[in-house]
């Protein structure tokens, strides 16, 4: 979540989940009940409260918490996405999935030290681009071999 000064356009707060030693980027666990999808997969709501993050300001990084409520509403038909194992595992298309283009709307708040913010509740924040769907990646791609020993064995067959 980035906050910018309206006049200068300078980013003055950057609330993120941080980067783990594993390389996992800006990704934090949230309660299982925080994400609710409709049975047809075309609507999804995330209602998350007080998740621990950091706020990177021009001066320092400080512990912070954020809360957000976002609703995604899919449009039209779901489309196949990704190329799965047909591309390198590092390729952006190294996944398979079915996704709806969507519209999303949300409200956000956060605190860091003595600073706190609240997004506009009148209109909420609206999406420039949004999508939702299901996907598989890596060792959980359909037909993927999950262990090196198995992979070696299969290559000998």
């Amino acid at each position: 979540m980035d906050l910018f000064e309206p006049g200068s356009g300078s980013r003055v707060h950057d609330f993120t989940g941080g980067i783990a030693a594993s390389g996992l980027v800006w990704t934090v666990p949230i309660p299982d009940g925080a994400v609710v999808a409709s049975p047809d997969g075309k609507q999804l709501t995330a209602d998350v409260h007080d998740v621990a993050v950091i706020d990177a300001t021009p001066a320092a990084e400080v512990p912070a918490t954020v809360s957000f409520q976002i609703t995604w509403r899919g449009r039209g038909r779901a489309r196949d996405r990704g190329r799965g194992a047909a591309v390198s595992p590092t390729d952006p298309a190294a996944f398979v999935g079915r996704f709806f283009r969507a519209r999303a709307r949300g409200t956000f708040s956060g605190t860091a030290g003595g600073f706190s913010f609240q997004s506009s509740t009148k209109r909420g924040a609206t999406s420039l681009f949004a999508e939702l769907g299901t996907e598989q990646t890596g060792a959980l791609l359909p037909g993927a071999i999950r262990c090196a020993a198995c992979a070696g064995a299969s290559s000998e067959w």
Partner: protein, 103 residues
Amino acid sequence: MLVVVLLLALAPAASAFDGTMPVPVPGSAHVFAPGPPALGLQGVDANPSSIGDFDGTVALAYLKGRAKDASGRRFRMSNDMRVMTGRYLAADGSAHVGSFAFI
């Protein structure tokens, strides 16, 4: 047979986060930016998940809006938000379930 049934009945339900974190998406950046190239994004065939070895539901949104701090000072707000919920593998290859937010 009875022992097997009892063990299955007593096994913890595999439906809640157990504290084991997932692995990142392979590659140097570990995250992609799906969306229309006209917006400077990587196209719709870019993976929206920030979790590797994943099987589940993903929602992504680039949102713009306005915010105020406690004193009434105004800001423009820009958020890349994603949520992922489903099955994943940890670094040791063990299987887990959980929900995550990309913030």
